[in-house]
């Protein structure tokens, strides 16, 4: 029975509501998914313009800031006369060395203040890779006093800025990899489901084969085979390709299943009897019925891609420095010393967790809302 699960909308509005309107209404009721959508959208906005959100140049090394701890931001500024105002600032840290162990010790210098400014100027970068600019979301007044929101790594590079820069690669690997596997998946799954018979058999056996491959060893072998002297962009594309080589099979299954079930729907038969061409039957009548399902499977496939890239890079077989991705950043946290002295190097891991959870919630919500015509 077709029953629209949405009852809080005016019935006159409901009568003329299109598929996407219904999907959106159903999706909105899913609170966790809405939260997932907001977080995911935020992550992708950051990934689109990392330079704007970063504070320090992510690849700039600073010998005087090795393992610099995260700095606390103060918000209430007390003036000497006792009056106060809301104005974020930090106390710069001074580097001292322990005279006996020669260990670096950072101590907050409370006598000095370095104010944080919104839309201030910082290092030069290209916005969207096109426009030269120096405007950043946040910047310190005094450029010689760097702001380390999440501390610095072994070479004194800003972890916060590097996570933001890494988001670009890590999140786009997910998107690009899924789009690539989606293309293969739709073509092969569509062929398989629409024509059936021998084509279906061949494609299904191919899918069985691909799914039976142990994916991690295959990824490892393939990426180990990539020449190390390739440029970073080529390397990036090859990794995306390797990841999607195994991921398309799941999507092809989904597409085939939808095709098979739609082929027997009466409205598809009706369209054929109306005289619609095969092309029109597929693109006008069948495809709109499962685009929402495909979008849902995409949003559930992206986190798997992100995790795969992270694991590969973490093991040193994916992207290579100086390319920055979350997996590459986590390599810094591979040894016991970093756990002991600089636990903030795990921050990229937190970014991975948040992104993956948000995408999973989003995908769950989309999947539940994808078919507004069946409860």
């Amino acid at each position: 029975m077709t029953d629209i699960a949405i009852s809080h909308v005016d019935s006159r509005q409901l009568a003329v509501a299109s598929q996407w309107q219904l999907v959106w209404w159903a999706f909105k009721r899913h609170r966790l998914a809405m939260a997932g959508l907001v977080v995911t959208a935020f992550f992708y906005i950051v990934a689109a313009a990392p330079g704007f959100f970063a504070v320090n140049d992510p690849s700039q090394q600073n010998a005087r800031a090795a393992y610099h701890p995260p700095q606390g931001v103060h918000f209430i500024d007390l003036a000497a006369d006792g009056s106060w105002s809301v104005r974020p600032y930090i106390h710069p840290y001074a580097l001292k060395r322990d005279p006996q162990t020669l260990q670096a010790v950072y101590r907050e210098d409370e006598t000095r203040k370095s104010y944080i400014r919104f839309f201030g100027t910082g290092y030069a970068y290209k916005l969207f890779g096109l426009f030269d600019t120096t405007t950043h979301l946040i910047a310190t007044d005094n450029k010689s006093e760097p702001l380390f929101l999440l501390g610095a790594d072994r070479l004194g590079r800003c972890v916060y800025s590097r996570i933001i820069q890494g988001a670009q690669i890590s999140l786009s690997v997910g998107l690009a990899g899924v789009l690539l596997s989606l293309t293969i998946g739709i073509v092969l799954g569509g062929l398989s489901g629409y024509y059936g018979g021998r084509i279906d058999f061949a494609v299904q056996r191919l899918i069985d084969f691909v799914l039976s491959l142990p994916s991690i060893p295959i990824w490892l072998a393939l990426s180990a085979a990539l020449p190390h002297d390739w440029p970073a962009t080529l390397n990036y594309f090859m990794i995306t390709l390797i990841l999607s080589l195994t991921a398309w099979a799941q999507l092809a299954r989904v597409v085939r299943g939808r095709f098979l079930s739609l082929r027997t729907e009466e409205f598809v038969t009706a369209a054929r009897l109306d005289g619609a061409s095969e092309w029109r039957v597929i693109f006008r009548h069948m495809l709109p019925s499962f685009t929402s399902h495909i979008i849902a499977s995409i949003s559930l496939a992206i986190p798997a891609m992100i995790l795969a890239e992270t694991s590969l890079s973490f093991l040193g077989l994916g992207l290579q420095p100086p390319t920055i991705s979350w997996g590459v950043l986590l390599r810094e946290a591979q040894n016991i010393r970093s756990i002991a002295t600089a636990p903030w190097l795990f921050a990229p891991g937190a970014a991975v967790v948040i992104a993956v959870i948000a995408l999973n919630f989003l995908g769950d919500g989309l999947r539940d809302a994808a078919d507004p015509y069946n409860k």
Binding site: T2, A15, V16, E266, F267, A270, L273, A276, S289
Partner: protein, 576 residues
């Protein structure tokens, strides 16, 4: 087994106290939705007596099933019983109020299955496919009655024998999917009877079954009721079934009781307007349509528009081959309605689909006479010719939900055949769609709406508008009214006949419902296991059938007249 029998039997039993088994008073069940409350059951009162059958009748959405489920406290979430009392009077003289029990509590669980048993419409989903019939039944016995394994098995066999399962010793170790629909329903009934309940609630138990199977099940329930002296609460939308089995009737509409009384009073002197309308629309389908009576007969010498010769359709090959349509020959004359009647699996739908070449027939010919007088064989037609012919032969589907693309507006759905055949576009298309909607009795301004905004009957009208959009000559209507409530059925048929007169259509009308066929059709072909066993005028086939199968089929149909109960006198047909 006659009625008199049953009455004396019940009379003899009434000496044993108490005769009243269940009293429901002002039952209210609500389904909270986001923006308010759906009052599914709104102040229903009823009583059930030992040995008596109460039929609750109503159209879809009337709250009849929810009423039954409320009694056992198995209302689907988020529904809940708001108020009312349900007094269950036990054999030992005590009484309990079922409404006061916690739906998950031990007390109500002890009542379910033991004192009040329930059977459902779809027996397959109520039975486990991974356990044998015996295992499932024995579990009930061992849980509720603490029987040993051997004892339970013996009782199982006895119960299955009672419900007339053939070859019980072997059947008990079979899986439910090895049984037919009717046999499964028998197993369900046997399970329901396992603990000798004092009340049996049957929720549309025969709706998914063919009429001949339905007659068997109705017979069985009646006989078991006599043997066990149970009260039966029978929920149905079929007035024929009500007339056949009920002692008392409760008519429900939108959660409220419209009328209640003895079956004779309801059928022969209904007081309420809704009841009168309901009975009226049922009785209307018991005779020929007025529109058809007014028509002048079609001349014998008129050349047929469709002539089907020795058509066969085989699915699969080799040992698994299934001949869905077997050597069928039919003719359809211009302006005529040919009815094809048969039970499920008789091949009538496959036949209809072969006419439009949705399936490619494996043998035979379908000669179609074009408007210019030439004939061509649709079975051999190439793609272009077929496309042209499909503009002249159209189809109306059974399912008003599945046959309309939910993602397209009504204007797009109805306009699709005009658009893809390049007949109209833009403003012209819009005008034509508005005109078509008006012809099928829908508001033209609704064309920007999506199908979900329409009720079942309105959706079927949209399907009809789409079918007539191309000015066709033949329409194949496959169970076009089966998904509709009875009050809408005759309206839809009248609409189709009106269009037939206006547009000069021929119909191939496929249905399992002999009432609809008699109302609508000029000639009838009866199909049984892929073959046409009898063809003739609607009057001849419906009133004096010659083939034994047709006789069996017709005699199994319950008549909506409690004074002329007939199915216990039915013929049985077994294929040679």
């Amino acid at each position: 087994m006659s009625l008199i029998d049953l009455a004396t039997h019940a009379g003899a039993r009434s000496a044993t106290p108490p005769s009243l088994i269940l009293e429901v008073k002002d039952l209210v069940t609500h389904f909270p939705v986001r923006n308010g409350i759906v009052k599914a059951v709104d102040g229903v009162s009823l009583t059930l007596e030992r040995g008596k059958t109460l039929c609750i009748v109503g159209e879809s959405g009337s709250g009849k099933s929810v009423t039954a489920r409320s009694i056992l406290q198995i209302v689907d979430a988020p529904g809940r019983i708001v108020s009312g009392a349900m007094m269950l009077h036990r054999a030992d003289g005590t009484s309990v109020d079922l409404a006061k029990f916690n739906p998950r509590g031990r007390e109500i669980r002890a009542v379910r299955g033991r004192e009040i048993a329930m059977i459902f419409q779809e027996p397959m989903s109520s039975l486990s496919p991974v356990h044998t019939v015996g295992d499932q039944m024995m579990e009930v016995l061992r849980l509720h009655l603490d029987m040993g394994k051997k004892q339970a098995r013996a009782r199982c066999i006895e119960l299955l024998k009672q419900v007339e399962i053939p070859d019980v010793e072997r059947a008990i170790d079979r899986y439910t999917f090895e049984f037919s629909g009717g046999m499964r329903q028998r197993v369900m009934i046997a399970m329901a009877l396992a603990c000798n309940p004092s009340l049996l609630i049957a929720d549309e138990p025969t709706t998914a079954l063919d009429v001949t199977t339905q007659a068997e099940i109705l017979d069985l329930i009646r006989r078991l009721q006599q043997q066990h002296g149970m009260a039966v609460m029978f929920i149905t939308h079929d007035m024929g079934v009500v007339a056949e089995i009920a002692d008392d009737v409760l008519v429900m509409h939108r959660g409220k009781v419209m009328e209640s009384g003895t079956v004779d009073a309801i059928f022969h002197s209904p007081q309420n307007d809704y009841t009168r309308m309901l009975i009226g629309s049922v009785l209307k389908l018991e005779q020929k349509a007025e529109i058809r009576l007014r028509r002048s007969p079609i001349a014998d010498e008129t050349l047929p528009v469709l002539q089907v010769r020795n058509l066969s359709m085989q699915f699969g090959s080799g040992k698994n081959a299934l001949k869905a349509v077997d050597d069928v020959s039919l003719t359809v004359k211009p302006g005529e309605t040919l009815g094809i009647v048969g039970e499920s699996g008789s091949g009538k739908t496959t036949m209809g689909r072969c006419l439009l070449r949705i399936y490619d027939p494996s043998a035979g010919a379908i000669d179609y006479r074009r408007p210019d007088g030439s004939t061509l064989d649709l079975v051999k037609a190439d793609k272009e010719t077929l496309k042209a012919c499909r503009r002249e032969i159209r189809m109306i589907f059974q399912d008003p939900v599945g046959s309309l693309n939910p993602r397209m507006t009504v204007a797009q759905i109805v306009g699709e055949p005009l658009l893809v055949n390049r007949i109209a576009a833009g403003k012209q298309l819009d005008d034509r769609v508005a005109d078509l909607l008006q012809q099928v009795g829908l508001e033209p301004s609704w064309r920007e709406r999506y199908p979900h905004a329409f009720s079942g009957g309105q959706r079927q009208r949209i399907g009809i508008a789409r079918a007539i959009a191309l000015n066709p000559r033949v329409i194949v209507a496959d169970e076009a009214t089966s998904a509709l409530d009875v009050s809408l059925r005759s309206q839809m048929l009248d609409l189709m006949m009106g269009l037939q007169d206006k547009l000069g259509l021929s119909y191939v009308f496929i249905s399992h419902d002999i009432g609809v066929i008699r109302y609508m059709c000029d000639r009838v072909a009866v199909m049984y296991r892929g073959r046409v066993v009898e063809t003739g005028s609607a009057e001849q086939v419906c009133n004096s059938p010659t083939h034994a199968y047709t006789q069996a089929l017709l005699s199994a149909i319950p008549r909506p007249d409690p004074r002329a109960r007939s199915i216990h006198r039915r013929h049985r047909y077994t294929a040679a």
